[in-house]
């Protein structure tokens, strides 16, 4: 199946990734993450004392503030905040610092498609930088279903507008383990095949969804490797790049 993408990528090819940590001086943890021209800057403050109203004080609370590139925050941004908050809540260990709040501030630097997955990846790197206790890392991927029925990954803004349906998928990263293969899998499937978040927009058949899932998983391995490599780089201020 031949797919023409404006930037000449293959359907499964991601845009170049870049990640740098500890870039803000005053934040407790910060990271910038870019996928092609989409770039997001995340700052993490905390843990701070006390939780907000309607939150469980016996657990740590995560607060997400979305700052758009221009203008006011609207309904789509509120939705992004909610998805991001739920995703981060499920990957953090919330019982270590009860009755504290961790603020995650997401500043969009440029939006060229796949904005929310980019923000999730950035937030994950920033939380690690701030030393917030986490169960595991998460990698997010944007899968698109085009009119003609093929699946493309990590679309640009232009491609995004032409799509009939899309899905945000968040997977756990692939972990290194000393455990024998059998016990690190859940019911015969490896850990990284679990889904943390899945948000679909538009009409999509069941088969198409599973196709997206399969492609997303394949790409998440690459993202996961990149995230590990950038976290392992010795000087956190140094940016690491991958093609």
């Amino acid at each position: 199946m031949e797919v023409d993408r404006t930037d000449g990528r293959t359907p499964n090819q991601l845009r170049p990734l870049a990640c740098s940590r500890r870039i803000l001086h005053r934040a407790h943890g910060s990271a910038s993450w870019s996928q092609g021209d989409t770039k997001v800057l995340v700052a993490v403050y905390g843990p701070k004392a006390g939780t907000k109203k309607n939150e469980n004080p016996e657990k740590a609370c995560i607060e997400v503030v979305w700052k758009p590139k221009t203008g006011q925050i609207g309904k789509p941004e509120r939705e992004f905040e909610m998805i991001l908050k739920r995703t981060l809540q499920s990957i953090c260990v919330l019982t270590v610092n009860p009755n504290t709040t961790t603020s995650v501030i997401v500043q969009v630097v440029h939006d060229d498609g796949a904005l929310l997955p980019c923000a999730i990846n950035a937030a994950c790197a920033a939380l690690v930088d701030a030393g917030i206790p986490m169960k595991h890392l998460a990698v997010a991927i944007f899968c698109c279903l085009a009119e003609s029925g093929y699946v493309i990954l990590d679309p640009t803004k232009l491609e995004e507008q032409k799509m009939k349906a899309f899905v945000y998928l968040v997977f756990p990263n692939s972990i290194l383990s000393v455990l024998p293969e059998v016990s690190s899998t859940m019911k015969g499937e490896p850990m990284e095949h679990g889904i943390i978040t899945s948000v679909t927009h538009g009409a999509m058949s069941e088969n198409d969804y599973f196709l997206c899932l399969e492609r997303g998983r394949a790409a998440s391995a690459k993202l996961s490797d990149f995230l590990r490599r950038s976290l392992q780089s010795k000087v956190p201020g140094d940016s690491s790049k991958a093609g």
Binding site: A27, G46, P98, H136, L137, I175, L176, V178, P180, L227
Partner: protein, 242 residues
């Protein structure tokens, strides 16, 4: 041959490597009747010991494991010495900011020979060198100005000098033993007083302000330098000011 094949799966493979959250570093089912001690950044999930923070996995004989990482924020831990700033004085406690999630309490009687009659006077904003004696989750941490024997030791108010904030990793490096090359080189040529809190606060005092400036700049610049690099940096710095 079997004995030789085993170490490839043993936990030793992760020691001194950089690990990221989620990595499983120890398998308790392979341990028989051993006690292991887990430090910061590790958690137990049934038989698996997994990592919560990114950093270098360290192992100290006989049985201690922890993840060494560096943060801007401090989470109080028992028996750690920290630099705190007094933010308020109440009848029973001084309220002290130690960069943690909650304000810490310093009881007015937690001083050497402390009684109701001789309560020390701290102004708001005073810098104190204190020890964390209680650090339970969900409670304000409690501090003390005495060592475990009830002696004042080095604890108490730090007068004059200059305080700056660094990361917890840097302050741990400054406190490491043997003395880190940075402080050793500086100490050979300059005379100064230094107090390092594990919460990432460092206080420096000397006779002349210029020494304070040199020492604090040297410390702030050494965040990501190795031992040899620190030595070279200090040598260059001291040559320039001569």
């Amino acid at each position: 041959m079997l004995m030789e094949a085993k170490p490839s799966t043993s936990p030793a493979t992760f020691v001194d490597k950089i690990v990221v959250p989620g990595d499983v570093v120890l398998d308790l089912s392979t341990f028989t009747n051993e006690t292991i001690k887990l430090g910061g950044g590790l958690r137990q999930d049934r038989d698996a010991i997994s990592v919560m923070k990114a950093g270098k996995l360290k192992f100290s004989k006989p049985n201690k494991y922890w993840v060494e990482s560096s943060q801007r924020r401090y989470v109080p831990c028992m028996e750690e010495t920290v630099l705190g700033i007094v933010v308020d004085c109440k009848a029973d406690n001084f309220l002290v900011d130690i960069k943690g999630p909650a304000i810490a309490f310093l009881p007015v009687l937690a001083f050497e020979g402390g009684t109701r009659r001789n309560i020390p006077k701290f102004e708001v904003g005073a810098l104190v060198y204190v020890r964390v004696v209680k650090a339970n989750p969900g409670m304000n941490p409690e501090l003390s100005c005495t060592d475990a024997y009830g002696k004042a030791g080095e604890f108490g108010l730090l007068k004059d000098g200059y305080m700056f904030e660094t990361s917890t990793g840097l302050s741990r490096m400054l406190l490491s033993s043997p003395t880190c090359p940075l402080l050793e080189e500086l100490g050979k040529q300059l005379s100064f007083e230094i107090a390092v809190g594990l919460n990432g606060r460092v206080w420096v005092n000397a006779d002349s302000p210029s020494t304070v400036v040199v020492v604090s700049n040297a410390i702030m610049n050494s965040e990501s330098l190795s031992g040899v690099q620190q030595k070279i940096m200090v040598e260059k710095l001291l040559q320039r000011i001569k």
